[in-house]
């Protein structure tokens, strides 16, 4: 057992880089042109096109149509019998975050998920194998106002800096309800409880923060206008890293992604946001959204929800799988997210559930994991549909992605292949050999005398979630 763990460590240390590179394909291997021929193309915005080609040039979609041609060096993918859709966008993820919750304060708008990105998280590769290309990495739900988010493309095998989605709207995590309250009930001996502990306190915490932010903004506005009037002897106000993101929210420059469950807390946040003059971009989870769909629509907020998770805690007991359909029909932009490295691998199934429960059309259901989350993240001009000029982020399936029997063959981001099932299969024999060799390697052999090498713990647990989903009792 210990040897296996040690082996794992060695595999991850010794092989992380070369493995990553082969998995992602060396950039040199990626030609500037790719032509997918004769596939069924789920464009999202222009219907489903049979026997259609998709031409990719320099990372962008250069053509969608019949009989397209490419240069001599182009990669040709035979799309016969295959289905091409835009890369899936997960609007609620915690993948590649080394830590998720800064839970010690009720307002942690000064912390950034972009500071803790781990580009070697193996779950990223597993998500690519489910056709996912873009993630909204959110802070956890321990506090009414949480940390700042990061929108990334899953460029597995490359440095973290290359993951960042340029031009995505900056965002922040808010959270309401049980998680926020529970975070005040720490079990650690000697630890003090944290305010707030009720939904009343949650409202007050957010109100207080925005009241301070409004004053802070006024202070800066007054300073700037005085400077503009030529007053050069003023001291600038002290910067406040906690309040700066809240000012950006008030100015419409930062999107609020608010974790919530029950109807009353949704209405609370809408009314608070209306009062302070800002918008909630998405309600996350929003499992009782169907009870207040018209209010969410009137505010102009989106909803990013689970397909059918329910009853894992009290505030999820009234969740119903018709939520996506009711909200969509009320005019809300709806996405279905994972909040789980495991579930992220099968968001196609989660979206199809909106046809099973609630009778959304295929196009409406496809939008739940493509164009709608793109809109919710402010990246709809770049991704979320297959249109000329958009980023070449695509998932190629061996069957319609809404079939339970479907499997991803190839996942492409900016025109480069980041997952290919055939390559993955062909590498397995080598990996097995490599593992066997590592197990025989000197550091992994039991010591002749004394204790065996101490197995280190995992760098971080795999499959982390924002504790919203109860995983069930593991047998």
């Amino acid at each position: 057992m210990r040897r296996i763990i040690v082996t794992l460590l060695y595999i991850s240390i010794v092989c992380a880089m070369p493995l990553g590179v082969t998995r992602a394909q060396a950039r040199a291997d990626n030609p500037s042109e790719t032509l997918i021929r004769n596939a069924t193309v789920l464009t999202i915005t222009h219907g489903t096109l049979a026997n259609t080609d998709v031409l990719i040039r320099n990372g962008k979609i250069a053509g969608v149509g019949k009989g397209l041609t490419a240069g001599a060096n182009a990669r040709i993918i035979d799309g016969a019998g295959k289905f091409v859709m835009p890369g899936i966008i997960d609007c609620h993820s915690h993948s590649m975050l080394d830590t998720i919750n800064e839970g010690t304060l009720a307002v942690t708008s000064m912390v950034r998920t972009s500071d803790v990105l781990n580009p070697t998280d193996i779950d990223l590769y597993r998500e690519l194998a489910g056709g996912v290309t873009t993630l909204n990495l959110l802070h956890g739900s321990a506090n009414p106002i949480g940390g700042l988010n990061t929108v990334v493309k899953i460029k597995f095998g490359r440095p973290a800096s290359e993951f960042i989605f340029p031009g995505a709207m900056p965002g922040i995590k808010f959270a309401l309800g049980e998680n926020v309250k529970r975070s005040s009930n720490t079990n650690l001996p000697g630890a003090t409880r944290r305010y707030p502990s009720t939904r009343m306190g949650v409202e007050e915490t957010i109100r207080d923060a925005f009241t301070r932010a409004r004053d802070y903004k006024k202070t800066w506005d007054e300073y700037k206008s005085a400077v503009a009037k030529g007053n050069k002897n003023l001291m600038p106000p002290r910067r406040d890293l906690q309040l700066e993101p809240l000012v950006e929210i008030l100015e419409g420059k930062r999107y609020v992604h608010a974790h919530c469950y029950i109807a009353s807390e949704i209405l609370m946040l809408i009314s608070l946001a209306d009062e302070f003059g800002f918008k909630i971009k998405t309600f996350q989870h929003v499992l009782e959204g169907y009870k207040v769909a018209k209010e969410i629509a009137a505010h102009g907020a989106g909803a990013s929800t689970f397909a059918d998770s329910w009853a894992y805690k009290i505030e999820a007991y009234d969740a119903i799988p018709y939520n996506m359909a009711i909200l969509t029909r009320a005019g809300v932009v709806v996405s279905v997210n994972s909040d789980s490295d495991e579930r992220a691998r099968r968001l196609n199934i989660e979206a199809a559930k909106a046809m099973h429960w609630g009778d959304l059309t295929e196009e409406q259901a496809l939008k739940l994991i493509t164009l709608n989350p793109a809109i919710q993240l402010g990246i709809q001009d770049r991704v979320g549909s297959i249109e000329v000029g958009k980023d070449a982020d695509l998932a190629i399936w061996n069957a319609h992605p809404f079939s339970v029997y479907a499997r991803v063959d190839t996942t492409i981001i900016d025109g480069d292949v980041f997952f290919d099932r055939q390559q993955d299969l062909s590498r397995r024999a080598d990996l097995t050999k490599e593992r066997a060799a590592l197990e025989q390697a000197d550091p992994n052999r039991p010591a002749a005398r004394g204790t065996a090498p101490q197995a280190p713990g995992r760098r971080r647990p795999s499959g982390h979630e924002d504790d919203d989903i109860w995983e069930g009792e593991r047998p």
Binding site: M1, R2, I4, L8, I11, S12, I122, Y125, R126, A129, E178, N187, L188, Y290, K291, A293, K294, D308, S309, W310, A311, Y312, K313, I314, Y317, D318, I320, P321, Y322, D341, E342, R343, R346, I349, A352, K353, M355, H356, W357, G358, F402, S403, V404, Y405, A406, R407, D424, R428, L431, R435, A455, G457, P461, G463, D467, W470, G472, E473, R474, P475
Partner: protein
């Protein structure tokens, strides 16, 4: 003259029209009658506390997926008094049978999830009062799920309307958790639900590496292999002693029954509970996931002469030939779990059932979920099929295979004459996501396709 002819012609037309009208009315009436019959079936009682009545039904002109035999492209199924009375292409409707016109529909046996805690827990987090899965202490063979399973749990209705008609509901705590029950997901009392009241003894095979990991905000303990091994061996020894005590208790009671001159052994409900299991009369389900744990459980069962079933079985595919050799079945719950090791193939869990199948291991696919996710059981099976398992075997893995593993293959799991009428009528492939259930029978009773979730949908979908 001409006018007369015209008149006659007109008269003729009128007669014809009238005739057509009559026929139309006749057809209309027929349709009304048919739909009235249909109405009865379409709307079985939704009243909580009322068990829908058994009766005689025929589903005709449907595709019958028998599971045990070949599909029947256009056939009928007759249900009478709770049983499947007839299946085939030339089955005629018994008199008084309510008719379900099955054109375009498919008929399947109800699905079975052999790894749940259905009805024992309503809300696992933040509502301890609704949790009845884990008793205090390590050894509770006398804790019986059938005693505590709630027929009125919202999970039951939500699950069955998706075509899952039976489930094993099991306690989960300690080392010997208690006894699982096999229930139908319909009834107003545990007794009405029970298919096998005490279906298996649940044992959590001692984990190498100790108990669960640190949870939300928990502390990470330094892992010490030597300590962990000793600890799991000690736990196994405790289980062994407990089972031996049960065996000895059974022998003592038998001996006393034959010869009253012997000292009278006191009754003991805990040891009493073990007797059918230690005698190999009923199965023992070992929760075991890692290779060493599964091997350990099988060796232990062999030593103790237990009838073993592995539940969990994450690594079972790695020792498939061993499982085959020992003829130990696996209830695999790992489909939608992340691979446990970083260098595992990304699809290692998706592929596991196909590997078990290829090796000839008896297996079933289960959600392994206490309740809320059980309704997705068809998707667990479908995913296994996307990664190598044949569609036919994927279907068997949630119908006939679990029935056989639970030793109720003669009563559940397929559409065969004489079996319990647990039947699902769908508008497509049972395992596909978009497929919908149109009619549902459990124990020959027509079941309304309503649940807590359809009720809430109805209550709010038109809110303006």
């Amino acid at each position: 003259m001409k006018e007369h002819e015209l008149e006659t012609k007109r008269l003729g037309e009128t007669v014809m029209q009238r005739l057509v009208q009559h026929v139309a009315i006749g057809i209309g009436l027929l349709l009304m009658v048919t739909s009235a019959i249909g109405q009865q079936i379409l709307n079985p009682t939704t009243q909580q506390g009322v068990l829908p009545a058994r009766g005689t039904f025929i589903i005709r002109n449907a595709r019958i997926v028998t599971v045990s035999g070949a599909d029947i492209e256009n056939g009928s199924v007759v249900i009478r008094d709770g049983k499947i009375e007839a299946v085939g292409t030339s089955v005629s409707a018994p008199s008084g049978a309510q008719v379900i016109e099955g054109r375009g529909l498919s008929v399947y046996p109800g699905m079975i999830d052999a790894g749940t805690s259905m009805g024992l827990v309503e809300i696992p987090q933040g509502a301890n009062g609704t949790v009845d899965t884990s008793e205090v202490g390590e050894f509770n063979p006398n804790a019986r799920a059938i005693v505590a399973v709630s027929p009125h749990s919202a999970h039951i209705g939500v699950t069955r309307v998706e075509g899952i008609t039976s489930a094993v509901s099991a306690p989960t705590g300690g080392l010997i958790s208690g006894q699982a029950t096999l229930i139908n997901l319909l009834g107003t009392s545990p007794k009405e639900m029970a298919v096998v009241p005490n279906a298996a003894l649940m044992i959590n095979y001692p984990r190498l590496g100790g108990g669960g990991g640190g949870g939300f905000g928990g502390f990470q303990q330094q892992f010490n292999l030597a300590d962990a091994l000793t600890n799991s061996e000690r736990q196994l020894e405790q289980i062994r002693k407990m089972l031996r005590d049960g065996e000895a208790y059974g022998r003592a009671q038998d001996a006393y029954a034959k010869d009253n001159s012997l000292p009278r052994p006191n009754h003991d409900v805990v040891l009493e509970a073990l007797v059918p299991y230690v005698r190999g009369l009923q199965p023992v389900m070992f929760r075991a996931n890692r290779e060493a744990e599964i091997r350990g459980a099988i060796r232990f069962a062999e030593e103790m002469k237990l009838k073993a079933i592995i539940v969990g079985g994450d690594d079972a595919w790695k020792i498939a030939s061993f499982l085959k050799e020992k003829n130990v079945p696996v209830i695999f719950t790992g489909i939608f779990q992340l691979p446990s090791r970083e260098d595992d193939p990304y699809d290692v869990m998706y592929e596991a059932p196909a590997k078990l199948q290829q090796a000839g291991v008896r297996f079933a696919i289960s959600s392994g979920d206490p309740g809320a996710e059980v309704r997705n059981l068809p998707l667990y099976a479908g995913m296994a099929s996307a990664f190598g398992l044949s569609k036919a075997d994927a279907l068997k893995a949630v119908t006939l295979y679990p029935a056989q593993i639970l030793n109720v293959g003669d009563r559940l799991g397929s559409i065969e004459v004489g079996k319990m009428a647990n039947i699902v009528v769908t508008d497509g492939d049972l395992l596909e996501i978009r497929t919908k259930v149109r009619y549902l029978f459990i124990d020959g009773r027509p079941v309304a396709l309503t649940s807590r979730h359809t009720d809430l949908n109805d209550a709010f979908k038109n809110r303006k």
